[in-house]
């Protein structure tokens, strides 16, 4: 049949398989794009792991001599073994081992430690790296889900593509159901018909598959390039290299062919099973399922019928009859709309939330932040130099430490006691002996000058022998974290506070106890980029550096890094801010290892990052919409035969071309409108849940709701669907009425 029929048919009807070619192209494009992208993500994962954790496969720690090293190097599967000088020390020599065959790393490492006479726990593994090489080491209890996730996505993509494109094959095949009926009547077996259709599909798909694979490679390369361009501007952003292995291309080719094959096989199987009688009589006209007409249900498509009259009913019935064929369209458009709407709403809500919790909250708190690595605050000597820079309005040098304070029960404020005491907030507070709580006491140590400024801010006399208590507790019972309310934590007249080392227990804790004077209890705090309202209800204290120097030996718990918070004179100009940041860095980086960030740049980076996410997710939604639209195109362009008679009959009883156009418009409207309606309702529910979860004021969201982009997206999709119907409708209107009514087998 192939030689005598299909070959000629393809040659003489090149345009009839456009939908098949388009579908095959899309399938190959998606698969190639995803596989190439995942392959490069995988390679990048390996690269990243090597940079972060090292490129070793196994590591042996213990007493290892030069002979031992040579023995390991001579082990059959060992590529090389080297001593890690950096990690070797008191606990013994650390040897990094690299294997040729990574699959037997576990067995080989066990054998090696046995040979070296070391205990089994002397062997360590680079679990992350080995898992990326698909080697799972016993005892690695981390869920390594990246590769399975890639695999699952590719499989889901294959199934989705089959669902999406098989209809294009079905439309093309069904347009010739009558011809296959004739073949069947003169003796073509179902197997011959099936084989012919599948061969034909594969021949038509061959070039588009190759083109799709190439385009997928180009797209994936473009994506990696775009990600690199984006990462270049981010702090710590690493460049990703791009490569494409021949085996990967072979895999993509096999996947694409399989996808096309299954997509062609599904309708071919169905068609070949039709009896010659069914095929010749042409049962492919749109058929509505029988429906019980009762009191409630008077007719089909009551809503469309009411809205648009007879044309509405005809359109509604046609869509019902095509429900199965249009399932992919409905699904992909629904997913695309839902994805786009929720994404837009999510980013809007996220923007509001970020503004509340970050930018608005800390807008006045900092302009340039410098993290001075591994430096205790007392060792930082450049505070004055920074203050004297021309662009600096004010600066604070500070360090954080963790301590615990002993809070007598009677020290709780009246308001706290009235609210049920500390027990009511922190559940089960730790008691320290009789009548006192142990409460976490984060310490913020300020340089003396900044502490003086803080004293001035709250209106107390400047002293360096005591601390200031941040006297506020988040009233979590009567407010949420978004719009918090506070009550005083302790009584205002507290004179001293007892602190001890947070890590010390028992007698050592007792020994580390230090009582320091409380200069003031206040609800104010110095402008720092810090958040104090934590869920474990700590009692925050601000200490001057001079006092810290005296008590740090007992209290300890200081973080490794110190921070410099700078407020600039010019707080709006990105260039001025960048310049100031550079100046500060020049001063500080000469003596310390530092990292810096500035508020405006951070905002730009944040916006860019959100923009990047939006672009990726938006592109995904657009792709889903394209699948839906492509499906509508292949469907509408293929329904000439199927609906020619339907419309000829309607025209014969007086339906005008304008009426036909109206029917098509209604169909297009319903095809797009229904997913819009469903997703709008789902989105409203989703947004309501998001608003509830984030404790935002709904009015705030409504004011900035992303109505315009959503409307633009819907109108664009509707435009394409309408265009597809316009093209299909034009074909229908060109059909000769007499021919269509007499017989449709002669075309």
């Amino acid at each position: 049949m192939w030689k005598n029929y299909a070959k000629d048919y393809i040659k003489n009807n090149r345009t009839s398989g456009i939908s098949i070619m388009a579908a095959s192209f899309i399938a190959a494009l998606f698969l190639s794009f995803l596989c190439c992208l995942f392959y490069n993500f995988w390679l990048d994962g390996i690269e990243g792991t090597k940079l972060e954790d090292g490129d070793w496969h196994g590591r042996i720690t213990g007493e290892i001599s030069g002979n031992d090293l040579a023995a390991v190097n001579h082990f059959a599967n060992v590529e090389k073994a080297v001593v890690n000088e950096e990690l070797s020390g008191e606990q013994g020599t650390v040897m990094d081992v690299y294997f040729s065959n990574k699959k037997t790393v576990y067995q080989d490492m066990r054998a090696l430690v046995n040979i070296l006479g070391l205990p089994e726990d002397a062997a360590d593994y680079n679990y992350q790296l080995l898992s990326l090489y698909f080697v799972r080491i016993p005892g690695d209890d981390m869920p390594r889900l990246l590769m399975p996730a890639y695999l699952v996505i590719v499989v889901i993509m294959c199934f989705s593509l089959i669902l999406v494109i098989h209809n294009s094959f079905a439309v093309s095949m069904n347009s010739r159901v009558h011809q296959f009926g004739i073949f069947s009547s003169i003796g073509a077996t179902p197997g011959q018909i099936r084989a012919c259709l599948i061969q034909e599909a594969l021949v038509r798909a061959a070039v588009p598959i190759m083109a799709g694979i190439l385009s997928g490679i180009v797209f994936s390369f473009g994506t990696v390039w775009g990600m690199n361009a984006f990462a270049k501007n981010l702090v710590g952003g690493r460049q990703m290299s791009y490569s494409c292995h021949p085996f990967l291309l072979l895999l993509v080719l096999i996947l694409s062919i399989l996808t096309v094959l299954v997509s062609a096989w599904l309708p071919a199987r169905k068609l070949s099973r039709l009896t010659p009688l069914e095929s010749i009589r042409g049962t492919d006209e749109l058929q509505l399922k029988k429906r019980r007409m009762g009191f409630w249900v008077k007719k089909h498509s009551p809503i469309l019928s009411t809205l648009f009259g007879m044309e509405g009913e005809i359109a509604g019935n046609a869509i019902k009859a095509q429900r199965k064929a249009l399932r992919t369209t409905s699904l992909s458009l629904t997913l695309a709309f839902f994805g786009f709407m929720t994404m837009q709403c999510f980013w809007t809500l996220s923007g509001i939330s970020t503004n509340h919790t970050y930018f608005e909250k800390y807008q006045d708190a900092w302009d340039v932040m410098v993290t001075v690595k591994d430096t205790p605050i007392e060792d930082f000597t450049l505070a004055k130099d920074i203050r004297e820079l021309s662009g600096v309005d004010s600066s604070v040098v500070y360090q954080k430490a963790e301590a615990v304070c002993i809070l007598p029960e009677e020290a709780q404020s009246q308001q706290l006691l009235a609210a049920g005491g500390l027990e009511a907030f922190s559940g089960e507070p730790q008691f320290s002996g009789e009548g006192a709580f142990q409460v976490k006491a984060p310490l913020v140590i300020l340089d003396d000058e900044s502490f003086g400024e803080f004293c001035e801010q709250i209106g107390i006399a400047f002293r360096l022998d005591g601390g200031i208590v941040l006297n506020r507790l988040w009233d979590s019972e009567n407010s949420n974290f978004r719009y918090p309310k506070y009550i005083p934590y302790v009584k205002d007249d507290m004179e001293t506070i007892v602190l001890h080392n947070a890590a010390a227990k028992g007698d050592r804790a007792f020994e580390s106890m230090t009582e320091i004077p409380v200069l003031a209890c206040t609800q104010e705090y110095p402008l720092l980029r810090e958040e104090y309202e934590k869920s474990d209800f700590p009692l925050v204290e601000f200490l001057p550096l001079s006092l810290w120097k005296e008590i740090k030996r007992q209290i300890g718990g200081a973080e490794q890094d110190a921070y410099v918070r700078v407020l600039a004179n010019d707080r709006t100009e990105p260039d001025a801010m960048n310049m100031l940041e550079d100046e500060i860095m020049q001063v500080v980086s000469r003596e310390y290892e530092v990292e810096s960030e500035n508020r405006i740049q951070e905002r730009i980076d944040n916006d860019k990052m959100i923009g990047g996410y939006e672009l990726i997710l938006g592109a995904f939604c657009v792709l889903l919409a394209i699948i839906g639209i492509a499906h509508v195109f292949s469907h509408t362009l293929g329904f000439l035969r199927q609906r020619k008679r339907e419309f000829a009959r309607l025209q014969s009883v007086g339906l005008t071309p304008a009426g036909i156009r109206k029917i098509f418009c209604i169909e297009a409207l319903v095809i797009v409108g229904r997913p819009v309606l469903i997703t709008s309702m789902l989105t409203i529910v989703a947004v309501a849940l998001m608003i509830k979860a984030s404790y935002l004021d709904p009015i705030e969201f409504i004011k900035v709701a992303p109505v315009l982009p959503i409307l633009a997206f819907i109108i664009t999709v509707f435009g394409f669907v309408a265009w597809a119907y316009y093209l299909g409708g034009k074909k229908i209107l060109k059909v000769n009425l007499a021919d269509a009514l007499r017989d449709d087998t002669m075309m």
């Binding site: 049949m1 029929y5 011809q179």
Partner: protein, 226 residues
């Protein structure tokens, strides 16, 4: 020699109250080389009978035996092969493949079986049917009569046991109708081809050896003509 035998063929459509009996216990026997006309009013069941005899449809009950094979028990593939080799079907609307030349349309049953045509026989058929000069044309380039001749040629190419023609002249003018009937008679006479012709035209029926009349799915008369 009996070439076709039907025993108690029943064909029901639908179920329950909407059940329709298209054929009701039909028995029929046809000898090799017979030219039989099946006549009846529209809806009498004659086309259903032809479809069952041509193995494009299955009876609800009963047996259809053609050259010793009970075709009512064949599966889809077996039925297709049987149709290809043993049955020639001619329809009112020709049913030629529009994208194939007349030559390929005619040879299709052989090509499906990957068999080479007997060139002499092929030329004899197309010559006697008067379409030898139109073999490279596409169906839509031929008149209705020519298309029907091509359809007859296709039905004869495999030398089928039986040729079933469903109103072959129903879509043709008088002159072409006459010619088609003459050709069927010719093939019956010269090739000893067994033919079952469905028609509602009494004049055409009178050209055959035997007239079987069907009414409401039953054979009401079976008259052999001298």
């Amino acid at each position: 020699m009996e070439i076709l035998k039907c025993e108690g063929i029943q064909k029901l459509y639908g179920a329950g109250n909407s059940k329709v009996t298209a054929l009701d216990k039909v028995d029929l026997s046809v000898e090799k080389g017979e030219f039989v006309a099946i006549v009846g009013a529209s809806g009498s069941g004659k086309s259903t009978l032809l479809h069952i005899l041509g193995s494009v449809d299955k009876p609800t009950e009963g047996k259809v035996i053609i050259e010793g094979t009970d075709i009512s028990t064949l599966n889809q593939t077996e039925a297709a092969v049987f149709r290809r080799r043993k049955v020639g079907l001619v329809y009112q609307f020709y049913n030629l493949i529009p994208t194939l030349t007349i030559r390929k349309n005619i040879l299709m049953p052989l090509l499906l079986d990957k068999k080479k045509p007997n060139q002499e026989y092929f030329e004899q058929i197309v010559g006697s049917l008067g379409i030898a000069d139109r073999l490279e044309s596409l169906p839509n380039q031929l008149s209705g009569g020519q298309q029907q001749r091509a359809a007859i040629a296709r039905s004869l190419i495999y030398r089928p046991a039986i040729l079933l023609a469903d109103e072959p002249t129903g879509n043709l003018d008088q002159k072409n109708s006459r010619e088609i009937i003459d050709m069927l008679k010719l093939s019956n006479r010269n090739l000893k081809q067994t033919i079952l012709l469905i028609t509602h035209d009494e004049k055409i029926a009178l050209e055959t050896d035997r007239i079987v009349t069907i009414e409401d799915g039953r054979i009401v008369s079976d008259e052999k003509r001298g």
